[in-house]
Amino acid sequence: MPISHKTINSSRSQTPPLDSFGADNPTVHCERKPGLISPDWQEAFHRVFLYLQTLNVPEDKALELTREALRLASSNQRDTAGSLSIPEAMRALRELLTKQLSLLRKESFSQKGVFLHENLNGLSSMPPLKRGFMVPDAIDLIPWFTFLVRSLKSAVPIVSRPLIFLILFIFLLLLSVFLTLWK
């Protein structure tokens, strides 16, 4: 889904931003001399403005920053002949944002989330580590067999006692006699 241009269009109708990057009355200027601003720079303006909107920067501040970025890009372009307006404007904006980062964060819109940088306004995803161990206890690989051996081992001392052995023997004898007779 595309990024919405509704907000841009609405803001455009209220405060048209295009001028020679800093004129006092841009609307009039722009309308009277449309040829003054090239389509390339108009596109650059919208790209920069859109970026700032995506960044949750309020409209008036966004317009101000856009103008500054375009002015900076324009001056940079004069230094490096032949560069393109959108990349140049975006680079200028980044330069500007890096310089104004702390200022931006102090502004009220920072609560909506202007991160811009790896330092997230003190927001930490994890607390400091406090390492502990969690080692699994050794587990029997053949519990069935071990259980059988264990049961037999525990049965040995019982069976080895003469009295118990005798009782068991008599019981088995009686049982077999009973089963034989019953049949």
Partner: protein
């Protein structure tokens, strides 16, 4: 084993109760088996009939366990006071007492629906805040999500939630790159990193929610009873809309209480741990409950899947008690919305529970926990036994129909031996089985109406009664379908085929006809063949099996219709299957409903859909910066990896996000440098088709 806890007062009582339970189950089973053998044509004397009686005995014993537990629960709840209810150890007037220890609330997630998880977290947070004890808690979202879009969505939701609630450094988020040992590994990973900071941890599922009051109450019980290692609550199903889920939710509310009270009556300090909505004492958990890897390959070897049962057994083996706070309110969960989702979940549980059989004879485990392992496995194996019983009885019916009766089985006999069948005995057995299955349901009804006087909370006596009747019809219809699937799950698990651990579809969605045909087609064909064969070979046996054959034949429409949200809403409109939380919803559930309805706009700062996480991470400067900040520090990579990532970057830039596979997206997301480069180059692009692919509107058109 830690000897200091062994001589607790409840231990002796629990032994007596368990011996009594086993005795009574054995007696009823033996009587039922004798009846069964007398009903059979040869009085249980042939090999086939012996097999039938044995299988029947196992099945009857299985349903008797539930029955007698429900009876115990009924008696407990009728008496109102239970001296072994763990919550009674912490007096009501003690509720306002402070907590002396820090607690972590853990929410392990894996490719879940992000908005739903964070909405629940938000409500739990606010509910806890209202108790005034929030400062003792930290929240951890422990993500194992493998879907790159979900991963970014989670990060964005976490940051937004922290900012909205002002919960910076109270709600934390961790994403594991490798989801080793699934959920248990995720929790163990938390314990190794931060476990030492906390005395207790409360584990949630993605669909869990608890009120602040119940969380505090649980911790107070833990503080009062220093011998408890795990305290489990009995979560109630809520918020369901589809027909089948509403029926399950209703059953959970009406019958659940007597079954959990019965469980507590028998288990006492040897209770279950269900893996969520429970408090765990962290130190003993870290010391004793780390799960080993079983030898051999999955499904029976490898990582332990249903970790919760094993953790409870290991905790108990170390001497710590595991209790079920069956009467604690304010603990909720959501149930699978469709039959197919329920069956998918059952397939995972089936594999995990059968895997427990390998631990059955492990040294040091308490007999009660060995029994719980057996019980867990039997929950699915019983289906296979039922299937086996039906197959054997069909074979017997066919044999009897084909074979010529032998009137003189004893040589030189003066009188013939007539084959006699006693239908009244069969009816008696059928009636007693019916009592065992359905009496607990009617006792629950009586309990609600006459003892607890809560019938108004279910819409009144008539609606409650009609709800129970309708629920019985539903369970009649779905039991054979579940039986067939569970049998299949057990069979394929024993054959060595493994299941994946995919996330569950928790939000309401309906089963399509295509899905239903795909999953239930074979069952329907089986029902048709079986029914036709019985109809022509042994007509009387056919009529006996109608309640099983008809649901199998109708399984496709039943599955589709039962998943219908419209039907569910119709039930709700006419007041059927109402639950107390719908008639008078607690504040937390009311908030959940409101927020769920408005959630589309909640977490989306741009109009790129919140679900397109990868696109947002590339396009949105905030999300891009947020994501990069949460990655590991920059590492030196091998030239081959760098080259591959550069190629991926170019592909993404020229062809757009839709051409990238999840694996490729993930690779780019793991590299902060690549992601920054992609972000910058995308915003600098002059190619409008690329911009469009990434969700930009072309500026040229808008001017």
């Amino acid at each position: 084993m830690n000897q200091i806890f062994v001589n607790a007062a409840w231990v002796k009582i629990s032994r007596i109760r368990r011996i009594f339970l086993i005795t009574i189950i054995l007696i009823t089973t033996v009587v039922a088996c004798l009846f069964m053998s007398n009903i059979l044509p040869h009085k249980g004397s042939t090999g086939l009939e012996v097999a039938m009686v044995l299988v029947f005995g196992a099945l009857f014993a299985w349903i008797s366990i539930g029955f007698w537990m429900a009876m115990a629960g009924f008696v407990t709840l009728m008496r109102k006071h239970d001296r072994f209810a763990i919550t009674s150890t912490c007096a009501e007037n003690n509720r306002q007492g402070g907590l002396s220890s820090r607690t972590a609330i853990l929410i392990p997630i894996c490719n879940e629906e992000v908005e739903r998880v964070f909405t629940r977290l938000r409500i739990t947070y606010q509910s806890l805040e209202a108790t005034g004890k929030l400062q003792d808690f930290d929240f951890f979202i422990l993500s194992d999500s493998t879907n790159p879009d979900t991963w970014i969505e989670e990060e964005a939701a976490w940051a937004a939630l922290c900012q909205t609630l002002g919960a910076v450094n109270r709600i934390f988020y961790r994403h594991r790159r490798v989801n080793l040992k699934y959920k248990s590994g995720n929790i163990a990973d938390f314990c190794r990193r931060w476990g030492k900071n906390y005395y207790y941890m409360i584990v949630f599922d993605a669909d869990s929610m608890m009120t602040g009051h119940s969380l505090i109450r649980m911790l107070q019980v833990m503080e009062q009873n220093q011998t408890i290692g795990i305290l489990q609550t009995a979560p109630l199903g809520v918020n369901q809309e589809s027909a089948i889920a509403r029926v399950q939710q209703f059953a959970n509310h009406v019958y659940g209480p007597i079954f959990v009270a019965g469980l507590n009556f028998i288990q006492l300090g040897d209770a279950f741990f269900w893996g969520h909505n429970a408090v765990i004492r962290v130190a003993p958990f870290m010391k004793h409950c780390s799960l080993p890897r079983l030898s051999g390959n999955p499904p029976l070897g490898g990582n332990i899947l249903s970790h919760d049962f094993v953790e409870a057994a290991l905790m108990r083996r170390a001497g710590w008690e595991v209790w079920l706070a069956y009467d604690l309110e304010g603990s909720y969960e959501e149930l699978p919305p469709t039959l197919l989702e329920e069956l998918k979940r059952d397939r995972r549980w089936c594999q995990g529970n059968i895997q427990h059989m390998r631990l059955l004879f492990s040294k040091g485990l308490f007999p009660a926990h060995r029994a719980l392992f057996l019980h867990g496995a039997m929950a699915y194996v019983s289906a296979l036994l039922w299937f086996l019983f039906l197959s054997l009885s069909t074979a017997e019916a066919i044999v009897e129909a084909i074979r010529v009766p032998d009137y003189f089985p004893i040589m030189r006999s003066l009188f013939p031996t007539w084959p006699v069948w006693h239908p009244q005995w069969a009816l008696t057995l059928l009636a007693s089985t019916g009592i065992i299955l359905f009496l607990p349901k009617f006792l629950s009804l009586l309990l609600i109406i006459f003892r607890q006087k809560r019938s108004k909370e279910f819409g009144g006596i008539i609606k409650l009664f009609l709800g129970v009747i309708a629920e019985i019809i539903f369970s009649f219809l779905f039991a054979p379908i579940r039986m067939l699937f569970h049998s299949k799950f057990v069979f394929i698990t024993l054959m060595g085929r493994q299941v994946g651990w995919t996330s569950q579809q928790r939000s309401e969605h309906e089963t399509s006809w295509f899905e239903a045909i795909r999953f239930h087609g074979s069952g329907m064909v089986l029902g048709l063949i079986w029914g036709t064969a019985l109809f022509f070979i042994n007509r009387s046996f056919f009529w006996w099996n109608i309640p099983i054959i008809v649901p199998l034949i109708l399984s496709i429409p039943l599955s589709v219709l039962s998943s219908s949200i419209g039907l569910g809403k119709l039930f709700q409109k006419i007041g059927l299957f109402l639950i107390p939380e719908e008639i008078n919803p607690p504040r937390e559930l009311h908030l959940l409903q409101t927020m769920t309805q408005n959630q589309e706009t909640s977490f989306a700062p741009t109009s790129i859909s919140a679900k397109e996480g990868f696109t947002r991470a590339v396009v949105d400067p905030n999300i891009n910066a947020l994501h990069r900040s949460l990655l590991r520090k920059k590492r030196k990579l091998m030239p081959s990896i760098m080259k591959r990532r550069q190629e991926l970057l170019e592909k993404a830039l020229t062809q757009g996000p839709k051409t990238l596979s999840p694996k490729e997206k993930k690779e780019l997301l793991l590299d902060p440098q690549c992601l920054l480069q992609l972000h910058e180059r995308l915003w600098e692009t002059l190619d409008y088709t690329i911009a469009q692919k990434w969700g930009f509107s072309p500026e040229r058109n808008s001017l």
